[in-house]
């Protein structure tokens, strides 16, 4: 028995070791190194000097330029996540309840843009939003404006482009949970006199909550981490954390500040995710209470 156990332990080790070692060396260690560099001292015009200082963090939170970038990142991510949820829910619901052979086609249609890659889609958005792009052409044609409107390098364009990137994830994760809800539940509620909207709000939404949570959270994290879209669509006017920290390292060659920004981005994303889960937990549990009291009343 003990021999057998030892043997299987050896086997597990052999199976697990290559991936674990690779991820530890090439992913975890570099992240820890990032953390270390963020406490180093930047030498103007030179490389950094080894130190233990929180100067970079203080410098980040004192500089309105950096705070603006952080604020952009957060509010664009929240808005994009909300917009995505509003668009994703009806699509997810319809896909989940669909039985025709078109379902597969529609799902492929949802997934496809996701796989095409951000830079390719951003080219499409530039052709759509630029000064002589499609939108401006339509606007001038119908006489809404005389001179072209600036869409690129504005927050709404960045939000729309990011929402477009993350929408498939949201649709699929909500669709997956709605699919598992028995349609008989909804029919029962309708038979008992509930309206469609009531059914969705009080029957479907609460049961689909895990999928909605997972979807919104993942989409929020993806938006916070977005690189290509803010870089290409946001340009220099709407900066977000990921491209800004890359610029700190490669253009300004301030490695400590770039590293500090990376750590700040990771920590703020983690903290807001935890906060979000807490808030949702609280509001849904209080919701449950009110519905039960309503029923009792």
């Amino acid at each position: 028995m003990s021999w057998n156990r030892k043997r299987s332990r050896f086997e597990i080790g052999m199976l697990i070791a290559p991936t674990t070692i690779l991820i530890t060396i090439m992913f975890l260690l570099p992240l820890i190194y990032f953390l270390r560099v963020s406490f180093n001292q930047n030498i103007l015009g030179g490389f950094m000097e080894s130190a233990w200082t929180i100067e970079n963090y203080i410098g980040f939170f004192r500089d309105p330029y950096f705070l603006k970038i952080l604020w952009n990142t957060i509010y664009i991510s929240i808005t994009a996540t909300t917009l995505t949820f509003v668009m994703a829910f009806p699509i997810a619901y319809i896909l989940a309840r669909m039985t025709s052979r078109w379902k597969g086609v529609l799902i492929a249609l949802v997934v496809f843009p996701l796989l095409v890659g951000n830079i390719v889609r951003d080219i499409g958005w530039i052709a759509f939003f630029s000064q002589n792009g499609l939108v401006n052409r339509i606007l001038t044609q119908i006489g809404l404006t005389d001179s072209p409107v600036q869409f690129l390098e504005t927050p709404p364009a960045v939000i729309i482009a990011i929402a477009n990137v993350v929408l498939p994830y949201m649709i699929l994760s909500i669709q997956a949970v709605i699919e598992r809800i028995n349609p008989a539940l909804e029919e029962a509620a309708i038979d008992l006199g509930a309206s469609r909207w009531q059914v969705i709000r009080t029957v479907v939404m609460p049961i689909a909550m895990p999928g909605i949570l997972a979807g919104t959270l993942f989409v929020f994290i993806l938006s916070m981490n977005a690189y290509t879209t803010p870089l290409v669509i946001g340009g220099t006017k709407v900066q977000m954390m990921a491209p800004a920290l890359y610029a700190q390292i490669t253009e300004v060659s301030n490695w400590p500040m770039g590293s500090a920004m990376a750590i700040i981005l990771i920590i703020i994303t983690l903290l807001s995710s935890i906060l979000y889960l807490r808030v949702i937990e609280r509001t849904t549990s209080s919701n449950k209470n009110t519905t039960t009291t309503e029923v009792k009343g």
Binding site: E11, G117, W125, A176, N225, L245, Y246, I249, W255
Partner: protein, 270 residues
């Protein structure tokens, strides 16, 4: 009365059509402008032509970066498949201490911004290089390894899901009948896992092929991956030529997705 309700249902479908339109809008725009005849993009176009696709043959940089991307993504796919297969097998078939932590570790590259992962790998290899004096960055294998890191979460997730649906008693039966563990794995598990492995391979290939951030610091000047080559061009201008490059990428990925869809339902992947 009945007619009115018909109109109402039609009205209800309008937002759905709009959202679907929104989903495919950027891809549609790229496909559309790649056929514009003039270099300057104007709406409506002055005419349509295929000439940009021929013009592409004169742009060596796109061809060579396309092949570099193919090469990197291919190696990253093979390596991450092997690693994902081994790792998932241990995670699904055995119970051991620290299993949850390992699971989290394997999926963690999904949550950390890819740009940070890419810079991190660069700094790390740069320092190793200074320590031991062997050139490590930029180097094709450093680039491939970085791509492996971002592909592992995909292969682990997909292959784990596939393994979960294969009854372990099949392997046990084979072992009871006298085959070794490795024989059981090769003859029983691998054939049953085939759809998951193919899908995991294709999706990690696509994920690697598209990824721009991971390669930014790891490419050699003059030897860029396709997304970086496209990005550099877009900073300069957006014209039908760059749209045709993108169109070719769209077609390639469309074919790959169509193949993957034959093995697993693609909506279940994400």
């Amino acid at each position: 009365m009945k007619r009115q309700s018909k109109w109402l249902t039609l009205l209800k479908w309008i937002p759905i059509f709009l959202i679907f339109g929104f989903i495919i809008l950027p891809v549609f725009m790229v496909l559309w402008i790649s056929f514009f005849s003039t270099s300057l993009i104007t709406f409506p176009p002055k005419g349509y032509s295929f000439k940009w696709f021929l013009e592409l043959l004169h742009h060596q940089e796109f061809l060579s970066s396309f092949f570099l991307s193919l090469k990197v993504s291919f190696f990253a796919m093979i390596i991450s498949l092997v690693l994902g297969l081994l790792g998932s097998f241990a995670l699904i078939r055995f119970n051991f201490k620290g299993k949850k932590i390992l699971e989290l570790l394997f999926l963690s590259p999904l949550i950390v911004p890819t740009i940070i992962t890419g810079i991190g790998i660069y700094i790390f290899l740069f320092n190793v290089e200074r320590l031991i004096g062997i050139d490590m960055v930029p180097n094709l294998w450093a680039l491939v390894t970085a791509h492996v890191i971002i592909c592992i979460p995909w292969t682990v997730r997909l292959i784990s899901a596939g393994l979960q649906s294969i009854n372990p008693s099949l392997e046990e039966a084979a072992i009871d009948l006298g085959s070794t563990r490795i024989q059981a794995f090769v003859k029983i598990v691998l054939p049953n896992l085939r759809p998951s492995i193919i899908a995991a391979g294709i999706l990690s290939f696509i994920h690697s092929f598209n990824n721009l951030e991971i390669s930014l610091m790891l490419v050699r000047p003059g030897e860029l991956t396709l997304p970086i080559e496209i990005l550099n061009y877009v900073f300069w201008k957006v014209d039908p030529l760059i749209a045709t490059v993108s169109t070719i990428q769209i077609i390639l990925i469309g074919i790959l997705m169509w193949i993957a869809n034959k093995f697993i339902s693609i909506g279940k992947v994400f």
